[in-house]
Amino acid sequence: MRFREIGILVFLVILAGATTVREPRFLSAKNLTDILLDIPLLMVVAMGMTMIILSRNIDLSVGSTLGLSAIIVGFIFKSNPNFPVWAGAIIGILVGLLLGALNGILVTWLRVPAIIATLGTLNVFRGLVFVVSGGQEVGANDIPPSLIELSRTSPIQLPWIVIFAVLVTIATHLFLRYTRTGREIYAIGSSPKAARLRGIQVEKVVFLAFTLTGGFAGLAGIMYASRYGFINPLTTGAGLELSVIAATIIGGTNILGGSGSVPGTVLGCLLLGVINNALVITNLSAFWQLAIYGVVILIAVAVDSLIRRQLERAAVDQTR
């Protein structure tokens, strides 16, 4: 819905303006870089969540998937300091893909409702994090410096992890917009019944969405290690599902599937990132963050519902 995207943009500009008036440092290069560095993780996972919610499903396990991928790779580095970073990254993504595929199998062929299946795997994956790590953190000394460098250096002005996030975002956008499978995700979410009648292989497509989302969460795990320089079994990725679902819904994706877009989700992520940053930089206390998230989610869905009702009424009036 174009309306939504313009609405967020306007809100973003106002927010940025107000913050700058209060604290001019907001627009400094350093602060903007800080914002840019905080968003990629959220954005990469939100790309997956957008696909899943578009298909009328949900994935609560993304935070645990991120944690498990990160901790596995972290322990590989810890026990094997010379392990190449690129290979570690690939392992992280593969672990993510595997975990996502597991969710996909549960939801499609084993017919477990997505919310239950991923609530279960949220716990299972987090439990596995502790099995793998024995409760031990992977500290800054164990993470290869070249991995940490990815958050600091870059070929252009943007650090590597930002570039990765942008690439994932563009790829997801192209997939959802320019492939038949991508469009089928929308069709399934819009009307599962019509999708079956039109011969769309609902199971395969939904499985793919879950698998890709797992892969994205795996990639985000590597990015986490790079950005923060540690992997904690308890906190790494915990509660991420809320931020990601919030960004997706705020970005205009309907929780009941069928409509939404990658640009919308990007704006949703930007909004959350800017809110976080504005709270910190204006010393307004970061404690407002969660409450503001809540208010923004409620306003976004309420406005959506009201607009939708208007549209439906207009459609009925047209009929006769």
């Binding site: 320019y178 469009r183 929308y186 309907n254």
Partner: protein
């Protein structure tokens, strides 16, 4: 016309569970003709269509395509043969735009990555819609369009798949006259292009306007194929309803009292307008009309399911403002909805739980349920209605047959002891025996002084049961007949907007 028909169905028979639905039906379909299929509900039209479009396979008989015998085993096979079925309710993706609804799964692609060529897709969609002469923007979101537009888009989709045979199941049922005119223009264009169209409609005027040939089915049997030139509307009606009425049901008129339910100027924008009528105590008023005429919408508004934009409802002469079904029940109204499974019953709950639902508080003391009393009363009511199939009242309603399910719905509302009972298609999809019993119960209730409004699309039912008949067409009341003057022809005429028949009869 070419030398051989595009499609021939020869001696098609089909039975479901031993009940014959189609018996030895044959039909030829020539390229460039609009072949109208007529018949009452249950005459076998839908089954015939489903056989042509690969949803069902016939028990016997064969289908020839260009003179070759073919087997149409699946919808995909039908599509490969160039046969497309347009459902009465179009299959749509409301969130996708028009172009994608046409091309989903077959979007034009380009380049080595086979990416979707949106530009070309919109162009092709635009051309398709243009060639159909339709003013729909391919960028429009499907959910925001009217049912008529959905149908046009479905036709465009069928055309994009090079359909040679297009089957349209009551496409005009929920269209306005202007929209019907548009649709017919498209149908004529397609005919001119050599497409063969099977067209189902109940509206006689339309049938004579658009049809090249008319085939009438009755009770699953072929009656005749005629051309509009060699027949009349009266003749067609006679062919359709030819069955003797006496075999169905008779009801003796009881004593009729004061008006219980009275409505004045009911209007709900986009659905119905200025509806006024009354139903008296002890009276059964039948409401006839075509599917989509707005009858269900009127009864739902009276029962508080939806809100009225204008108009008044009186009960016992007192104005009432019903804003929810709960209020309606409290005021002594009951409504047996058309969609039994979705609106009438809680399928996975027990018979007893279904029956006591509207008046559950009567079975409770300070909110606590008295289970034994509930059970006993439920048993009493199921026995009263001869609900046989049930093991006992703790059986799930969903395990019952259609007729018994309807009896559960009836029992539910009898228990609430309403003074006004509204029934929407009370015997749809239930067997003859149960049907007769539902009618018997209705008669009894009326003679006990209940005011009954019965919506039905089956004319014999309307005629046999009603003391008075109301007819709706396109959201308006178009006819009212008392028992003595009501005939099938008159009702059909009022329902289809055909005046001549009324004069002739």
């Amino acid at each position: 016309m070419t030398a051989q028909p595009l499609l021939s169905a020869c001696g098609i028979s089909k039975a479901f569970g031993g009940t014959p639905v189609l018996q030895n039906v044959s039909l030829d379909l020539w390229p460039g003709e609009v072949h109208v299929l007529m018949g009452e509900n249950g005459a076998g039209k839908s089954t015939f269509n489903k056989i042509l479009s690969g949803v069902h396979t016939p028990d016997s008989g064969e289908i020839l395509l260009n003179g070759q015998a073919v087997s149409i085993a699946s919808p995909a096979a039908a599509q490969a043969h160039g046969i497309a079925l347009l459902h009465q309710e179009p299959i749509i993706f409301p969130d996708l735009d028009v172009a994608e609804n046409i091309f989903v799964g077959r979007q034009p692609q380009k380049g080595p990555w086979r990416s979707i060529n949106w530009h070309s897709m919109y162009e092709q969609a635009g051309e398709l819609l243009n060639s159909l002469g339709v003013q729909i923007d391919p960028h429009e979101r499907m959910g925001g369009l009217s049912v008529a537009a959905h149908q046009m888009v479905e036709m465009a989709r069928a055309m994009s798949q090079n359909a040679r045979v297009l089957i349209m199941d009551e496409p005009t049922a929920s269209l306005s006259p202007d929209e019907v005119a548009d649709l017919f223009r498209i149908v004529r264009d397609l005919r001119a292009q050599g497409v063969a169209l099977v067209f189902i409609s109940h509206r006689l005027e339309e049938v004579f306007e658009i049809g090249d040939r008319i085939t009438v089915l009755r009770d699953g049997e072929f009656v005749n194929t005629v051309t509009p030139a060699e027949t009349t509307k009266e003749e067609i009606i006679r062919m359709m309803v030819g069955r003797p009425l006496s075999s169905l049901f008779e009801r003796e008129a009881g004593s009729i009292g004061e008006p219980l339910l009275k409505v004045e100027g009911l209007t709900r924008t986009g659905h119905f307008r200025n509806i006024s009528f009354e139903v008296k105590a002890g009276e059964i008023v039948g409401m006839a009309g075509l599917v989509g005429a707005g009858r269900t919408e009127v009864s739902e508004a009276i029962f508080g399911v939806t809100q009225l934009d204008a108009g008044k409802v009186f009960l016992d002469g007192k104005p009432v403002n019903i804003r929810s079904p709960r209020q309606a029940v409290q005021l002594g109204l009951a409504y047996v909805p058309e969609d039994r499974q979705q609106h009438g019953l809680l399928l996975s709950m027990t018979i007893a739980e279904n029956i006591t639902l509207p008046v559950l508080k009567q079975f409770a003391q300070m909110g606590w349920l008295r289970a034994r009393q509930e059970r006993e009363v439920a048993q009493q009511y199921t026995a009263k209605l001869h609900l046989r199939a049930a093991r006992d009242v703790s059986q799930a309603a969903g395990e019952l047959s259609g007729g018994n399910q309807q009896k559960v719905v009836l029992a539910k509302w009898l228990l609430s002891q309403p003074r006004v009972l509204i029934l929407d298609e009370p015997t749809r999809g239930i067997d003859i025996g149960a049907k007769a019993e539902v009618h018997r119960i209705m008669g009894e209730l009326a003679s006990q002084g209940m005011a009954i409004l019965m919506i039905s699309s089956e004319l014999p039912e309307i005629l046999a049961m009603s003391d008075r008949v109301l007819v709706m067409r396109e959201g308006r009341l178009t006819g009212e007949f008392n028992r003595a003057e009501a005939t099938q022809e008159k009702i059909m005429a009022a329902a289809t907007g055909q005046q001549m028949v009324e004069v002739a009869a």
